[in-house]
Amino acid sequence: MTLSIEQLRSAYRVMKTIREFEERLHLEIASGEIPGFTHLYSGQEAVAAGICAPLTHDDYIASTHRGHGHCIAKGCDVAGMMKEIYGRSGGLCKGKGGSMHIADVTKGMLGANAIVGGGPPLAVGAAIACRNRGNKNVSVAFGGDGSCNQGTVFEAMNLAVVLKVPAIFVFENNGYSEHTGVSYSVGSGDIAARSRGFGMPAEKVDGSDFFAVYEAMQRALAHCRSGAGPYTIEPLTTRFYGHFEGDPQNYRAAGEVATQRETMDCLKRFRTRVERDQLLPLADLDAIDTAVLAEIDAAVAAARAAPLPPDSELTTDVYIRY
């Protein structure tokens, strides 16, 4: 592996930013300040970070209902995201989208998506554009273990194989779709094998290990850029919170999350690895921790200070005439 110091710092910063963004939202939601309902990405940070690390703004991602991590990893403005989640003016979507619809196409971020399975067909479309530009860029479809039972996702996979487009399907297997375990909802029990059935290489990877995800992504990129078509990565991961905020999670064994917070915390594991292999001075990580907390504080303060969108915004950004 050949991650530069800058890349390592940046990877950690992305993961830490996601973590603190979500931890802070967890608190703010409990305080009742945030409208709607929100799905937190805590626990899965290494996936977004590892997949997006090698991408530029000319690469695309299509995201899910649990999209904050993908947005941050793909370079969306954190304050703009926070304002969006608060439903305020100055939000990335002017407050019209909300948590489940954050997008920034200028960054190659094609949108979170509140329809499970909505994103992968879109990602394949962007991959057609990449193919026609010579397979230098790629398009990533994020999805969960539950999402991959939606017919649209299978269609997208087959179409990507047929058209040999540089699409990377990332099925984040966090064990649950809402209140249902993956061993129930995926009949075969094996998401990656299903992708192989569609005719593309697929691998499972430790989704709490940034380095493992990053390496898998390197293999995926090499495959896609060679013009050989799509690739699947199935990161095995977990979510530290409920499906949405307020979920009592009685489908999970007592202590499951506590254990996973010990063993599957990508930040801890990154720090351990960095320390063991002396990749960076730990002080660098500490400095990032401090900077990130300040950034999140500032984002929340900016969101709170931002006004709600004026009623006049209701009928803009859409063709309207009647």
Binding site: P35, G95, Q150, H179, E256, Y322
Partner: protein, 335 residues
């Protein structure tokens, strides 16, 4: 009579019909919940809004079926099970999701009876939570009952209170035609008197929520609740209105609407959907063609704007027609 929420009224109807008729099954995502979970606890959910609570413990996996996130398979399976003699009640978590299973609804189950020459029926009920008002964004807040009202072969039910919710759901389950049953999320906690025993409310019979002289107000779904507030407001100025809740938009009780307009000569229609090809426009057209002679003023139509549902609380408030807009329309129609 016990006073219960609309949520409990719907749950009660499901319990009573499953008890009465072993052919009734329930299927959908997390209608029980907990399958494959590490705690081993089933019925971790009982429906994401709690509507199917208590069914799985009583009727088990055979009749209360948790599914993967595969709405086409859910609705198709409901249709096939119905052809094979069962009476499925399928849940689409949010009505907005009909987009991923529309074919099974509109080309398959809705058409079988006619396409097959009347030799079979397809008694499926599809329950779906709908509506704006809780900042769920553009893909979790739509009403979309106009799409379904447009489809020949489908019946469309929109209850606005616990009593109607129970009686209409039991009717839907016993009905031999496929039925779309829309539950407004904001009305789940609404309370009202509901008889303990099972009863049915026939489709195509509007409910006259208020009687008056000056204006006919037709209000769909949650709009009926807001219309009551508007009626209270104008009552202070001595304006009295008929307030009609169609309860089912297909079949639609045209007679009640037309008769009322005959008396009042003035019509206000209130609908949470965007205007184009809406149920509001549909009813307006029916009156403009069949009740034209009664009309003494332009029909006032109150709908959401022709936009997706915005997320921001300020914008969503401006989006959903509220009592003030309804009141303004009532005053306008009297001008």
């Amino acid at each position: 009579m016990p006073v219960i929420t609309m949520r409990d009224a719907i749950n009660q109807a499901l319990h009573q019909e499953m008890e009465r008729d072993p052919r009734v099954i329930v299927l959908g995502e997390d209608v029980s919940g907990g399958a494959g979970g590490s705690s081993g606890q089933r019925e971790a959910a009982g429906g994401i809004f709690g509507l199917t609570k208590g069914l799985h413990p009583k009727y088990g996996d055979a009749r209360v079926i948790d599914t993967p996130i595969s709405e086409s398979a859910i609705i198709g399976a409901a249709g096939g099970a119905a052809l094979a003699g069962l009476r499925p009640v399928a849940e689409i978590m949010f009505a907005d999701f009909v987009g991923v299973c529309m074919d099974q609804i509109y080309n398959q189950i809705a058409k079988f009876r006619y396409m097959f020459g009347g030799r079979t029926t397809c008694p499926v009920v599809i329950r779906a939570a709908m509506g704006a008002g809780m900042n769920m964004g553009a893909q979790h807040s739509q009403t979309i009952y106009n799409f379904m009202t447009a489809v020949p072969g489908l019946k469309v039910v929109i209850p606005t209170n616990p009593y109607d919710a129970k009686g209409l759901l039991i009717q839907a389950i016993r009905d031999d035609d496929p039925v779309m049953y829309f539950e407004h999320k904001a009305l789940y906690p609404r309370k009202g008197e509901v008889p303990v025993e099972a009863y049915t409310i026939p489709f195509g019979e509007a409910s006259m929520l208020r009687e008056g002289e000056d204006v006919t107000v037709v209000a769909i779904g949650r709009m009926a609740v807001f219309a009551e507030k508007a009626l209270d407001a104008v009552a202070k100025d001595g304006i009295s209105c008929d307030l009609i809740d169609p309860r089912t938009t297909s079949p639609l009780d045209e007679e009640t609407i037309l008769e009322s307009v005959e008396n009042t000569g003035r019509l206000v229609i209130v609908d949470e959907s965007p205007p184009r090809c809406s149920v509001a426009h549909d009813i307006a057209a029916i009156v403009a063609s069949k009740g034209f002679k009664s009309l003494r003023a332009p029909i006032q139509i109150v709908t959401a704007p022709h936009t997706p549902v915005p997320f921001a609380p300020s914008l969503e408030r401006a989006y959903v027609p509220g009592p003030a807009k309804i009141e303004a329309a009532i005053r306008a129609v009297l001008k």
